[in-house]
Amino acid sequence: MNDNPISQARFQQKGDTRRSARVSAETVSTFAVAILCVVLLLGARFISPSLGSWSQVETVLVLGSFLVVLSFGQGLVILTGGLDLSLPAVATLGGILATNWVGASDPAAWYLLPLVLLACGCVGFLSAAGIVWLKVPPFIMTLAMSIIVSSLLLGYTKGTPRGAAPDIAVALMKGQVLGLPAPVLFLVAFVLLGWLFQSRSIYGRYLYAIGTNVEAARIAGAPVTAMRILPYVVSAVSAGFAGLMLVGYSSGATLRMGDSYLLPSIAAVVIGGSSILGGRGTFLGTVGGAILLTTLGTIISAIGLEFGLRTIIEGAIVLVALLLLREELFQKLGSLWR
């Protein structure tokens, strides 16, 4: 029947419009975030002449790198319809262990650091286990895990984290490679890998499938259990790594290192166009979200207003971003330009 001219004609007309409508929805929202960042950066010049400079971009990228790494994991978890509230605690875990087990110039770092990440991974696995087998809602399981991990850390350090940052971590955050700050290059590499994993690997595909409809994915023969565990482990490992970066950046660990990143990590993902219900969103969007938030932070702090007003402005801009990046908006646009 498909070779019937009439239906062919209809297929083309309908089909193609629908496809492009979709494509634009995803990519446009990613671009939109990027554009928003640039606009903010340039707009910043009006606040202070030395803003909008390359050096500010550098600062943004360095400070943003933590959030990007954290929201990569958060993004994967959200992609499967979950939520990871244990990120801050695990990041702290990573930082504390790195300083306690490894320390400054420890030759054993090459196998100790992987062990640190492994430990973090285990926490992620425990959360996943609770969610998959005990059927605890992700929100609660990860919340409980974070309470537990924090209290264990408190006990373990008796309140005073010791030790110094491993050289590798310091090099990663402070080093220079061919004239560029190492963290910036690292960020580029990480984004590339993250994108490959989420959008170009079979694992990414599975995660999208599960986030869309677990039951259908199971029936289709996807390795559902494994793929429901994976994001939490990855998320925990990347959180641990973020902890390592933080330690390298400020050459020392504190027990509240990760705290300030929880809500931003979620915000970055959502602003980046992902659905909190799972199944939709891209890592590039998330990166955009993270950079957007960091840029905002640097600019806000330069505004000479009292903290309260600054906070209001920050919230307002987040809101505006959300409104601008609404899915419907792009579908409307998508249909307008034809």
Binding site: S151, L154, L263, I266, G315
Partner: protein, 338 residues
């Protein structure tokens, strides 16, 4: 309590089942309702009373109630939003905001108290309306929209009061934390009234609609339910409850603190989950969440009197949270199994 009342208190759209399967029926109510959490609470209280004989004199009870009321009311509001399949982060902002307003503009005497009450409800209602508008009409994801409004409210709170201070009117501070005829704790009464209202609301068309949109929005819409209005009203009602929580918090601390709401944010979700309300909407109830909140505050007492090393209290809280949720989930599933 009558059939309906329990069903009401317990939440889940009441579903009596043919007398044939009466046992299942009872189990169903138990699991769907506050039965489990109620049991846990009684158990903990017994333990507490055993360790701490003073626990039973009316002062201790009142003190505990005063301590519970703010979280209980906050959780009550959160429950409404969760039932409609949403998350509300603005809870932290609204409570801080009402608290600083009460501390900076204290209104003396019973009349002033009444006015203050209205102010709190107004503030909460207004923020709720904004959330409702953003989520129900502009279709923003609730977690994102309320994150933004939360930040903004925090900002406003800081503008009104940039450091702890101010004094809540004596009448509020004393009467709302006192006891009627030296026995009945007022804070307890306030919570009781809210539960009473809920029992009624549960039996209105709005109540049914709330559960309907939480479980299956498209179906509810095609069944003629006005989804947007229901969702909007839900956020408004929730906001008002946060306002009330703010009032009770102010009564207890008698002073203003621009960050006072923050600690209640995640706790409110923990309480909701402890009460067995499903975070994916459509199942659970307000009363159960109130009990969940009460359990969380009681837990502090029990852990204190059982002399757990303060480093590790978090460990216990986390574990209790998981165990309780696993249990209620288990029972629910048994209840649903044919």
């Amino acid at each position: 309590m009558s059939d309906i009342a329990t069903a009401g208190a317990s939440g889940s759209a009441p579903s009596a089942v043919r007398s044939g399967s009466a046992p299942r029926h009872r189990l169903w109510r138990l699991t769907q309702g506050a039965g489990l959490i109620l049991g846990l609470y009684v158990l903990l209280y017994a333990l507490y009373a055993y360790q701490q004989p003073r626990a039973l004199d009316s002062y201790a009870i009142a003190a505990l109630m005063n301590n519970t009321a703010p979280l209980a009311l906050a959780a009550a509001g959160q429950t409404l939003v969760v039932l409609s399949r949403g998350f509300d982060l603005s809870i932290a902002g609204v409570i801080s905001l009402t608290n600083v307003v009460l501390a900076v503009y204290p209104l003396e005497g019973p009349g002033g108290a009444l006015l203050s009450l209205l102010v709190c409800l107004a503030i909460g209602g207004a923020v709720g309306a904004v959330n409702g508008w953003l989520v129900a009409y502009l279709r923003l994801q609730s977690i994102a929209a309320t994150l933004a409004t939360m930040i903004i409210c925090q900002g406003i709170a800081l503008v009104i009061l940039n450091a702890p201070g101010g004094a809540v009117s004596d009448w509020i501070a004393d009467e709302l934390t006192g006891r009627l005829w030296g026995v009945v704790p007022v804070s307890g009464l306030v919570v009781a009234v809210v539960i009473g209202l809920w029992l009624l609301v549960r039996r209105t068309d709005y109540g049914i609609a709330l559960y309907a949109i939480g479980a299956d929005e498209p179906a509810a819409a095609l069944s003629g339910v006005n989804v947007r209005r229901t969702r909007f009203l839900t956020f408004v009602a929730a906001g008002m409850l946060y306002g009330l929580a703010g009032l009770m918090l102010s009564a207890q601390t008698a002073t203003g603190n621009p960050n006072s709401g923050t600690p209640l944010l995640l706790l409110s979700f923990a309480a909701v989950a402890l009460g067995g309300t499903s975070l994916s909407g459509g199942r659970g109830g307000l009363f159960a969440s109130v009990m969940g909140a009460a359990t969380l505050t009681l837990l502090q007492k029990v852990l204190f009197s059982s002399g757990v090393s303060s480093f590790y209290t978090g460990l216990f809280q986390g574990v209790v949270l998981i165990v309780a949720v696993v249990f209620s989930g288990l029972l629910t599933r048994i209840g649903e199994r044919k």
